[in-house]
């Protein structure tokens, strides 16, 4: 019985799933144990029955609406999470766009705070390479703010 405790769970293993020594020991045990041999025979006889039965039930069901329902739900999900989904798919592009934009926004806030109530408005343009050129609209006219590269 103690041997059965060890070997019964090995019954039903596929080729290569047991260590060679385990497989040999199991074979020897089966040769001497009618109970385990009967269980092994039933296991072999019913192998695959569950899979066959479940796939047969799936095949018997009308799946015509399934894919349309999935596509509709996926479309609805995409519409809901449009921006988030785009950000998720294009993380690098999002970062390359958002970083300079946020920097520019921070600069605008800074300029407006510094400008106080003197009606100074900061405009900004984003170059294609992501460089930012700032144009400060003041009471004395527009002032273009260059970076260090332009000044040198």
């Amino acid at each position: 019985m103690r041997d059965c405790l060890r070997f019964a769970p090995m019954i039903g293993a596929r080729e290569g799933e047991l260590e060679p020594a385990e497989a040999r020991a199991l074979e020897a045990h089966l040769a001497s144990c009618p109970g385990c041999r009967a269980f092994a025979a039933d296991t072999a006889a019913t192998d695959g029955l569950v899979g066959e039965a479940l796939l047969a039930r799936a095949n018997a069901r009308d799946f015509a609406p399934f894919v349309d329902q999935v596509m509709a739900r996926a479309g609805a999900g995409r519409a809901r999470g449009g921006v988030l989904a785009w950000l998720s798919r294009h993380r690098r592009a999002a970062a390359a766009t958002l970083v300079p934009a946020l920097a520019a926004l921070a600069f605008i806030v800074y300029v407006r705070l510094e400008g106080g109530g003197r009606n100074e408005i900061a405009l900004l343009e984003l170059a294609s390479e992501g460089e930012v050129t700032m144009v400060l609209q003041t009471a004395d006219g527009p002032v273009v703010l260059f970076g260090e590269e332009h000044g040198s």
Partner: protein, 249 residues
């Protein structure tokens, strides 16, 4: 005639791994297109796997409508995370992993773990009754056997008698064909636990099927014996023992 240019639709986005089968390569090609926003490619993936995902979910959650929802949810999760699929495993492995976890979650939402979800194999588990009846009944070529088809019709009822852990592992083994190692990885358990859970699952399934096969065999034996009441029992010698003497958990 100008040369025909065929755009490369290969696996440029995926890291190399073990050689892929043509079917897997086709899956990955569809995934690649779906990631780029090709709805038809994603639709093709759904159609390709919908029945198998449903079968897997049905085996675990038992309820056909819940299985339908779980299967759909699995495809939606896949759709939402296509960008994260790195191709380290096959697409089907990824999809079935998601479907498995969704199915288990669905079952666990409905009930808490039961006492009979044990994994250890004890001496009482080895005792049974009527072992050998199924192999005798199903004969040497079980796939051609009428009784096998009849038994398949009882599988759903038999599966429902199993605790979730045993049902899940048996379904994964038989529907998806996972190995011990793959089952251990999928379920986050040791290989030894995989083997003992499968043992429990098979033992219980066979006990239930025996209850059906025993009377069916006896019925047939009776039909065969009608002309001559003195003849022996079914193949294998003697009438089948009444199955399942020991109450299954």
């Amino acid at each position: 005639m100008p040369p025909r240019v065929i755009p490369f639709q290969g696996l440029v986005n995926f890291r190399p791994r073990a050689p892929v089968s043509p079917v897997e390569a086709e899956d990955l090609s569809l995934v690649s297109k779906a990631r780029a926003g090709d709805a038809d490619a994603f639709r093709a993936l759904v159609v390709r796997f919908q029945r198998k995902v449903y079968a897997l979910a049905l085996g675990i959650v038992k309820d056909p409508d819940l299985a339908w929802d779980v299967a759909q949810e699995a495809f939606l999760r896949v759709h939402g995370h296509l960008a994260e699929f790195e191709g380290k495993s096959s697409f089907s492995t990824w999809l079935f992993r998601i479907a498995t976890h969704l199915s288990i979650d669905a079952v666990r939402r409905e009930r808490t773990s039961r006492k009979d979800d044990i994994d250890d194999v004890e001496e009482a588990d080895l005792a049974g009754g009527g072992e050998g009846i199924l192999s005798t009944a199903l004969g040497n070529d079980p796939r051609e056997n009428l009784l096998r088809r009849e038994l398949a019709g009882q599988i759903q009822a038999a599966l429902e008698t199993l605790p979730e852990k045993h049902r899940t592992i048996l379904v994964l083994r038989e529907v998806e064909g996972l190995s011990y190692e793959e089952l251990a990885e999928r379920l986050g358990i040791h290989k030894g636990t995989v083997m003992s859970r499968l043992f429990h699952a098979r033992k219980k399934m066979q006990a239930v099927l025996r209850r059906y096969a025993g009377p069916a065999l006896a019925r047939r034996a009776g039909e065969e014996e009608e002309p001559g009441p003195e003849t022996g029992g079914p193949r294998g010698g003697g009438s089948p023992r009444p199955p399942g003497e020991r109450a299954e958990e």
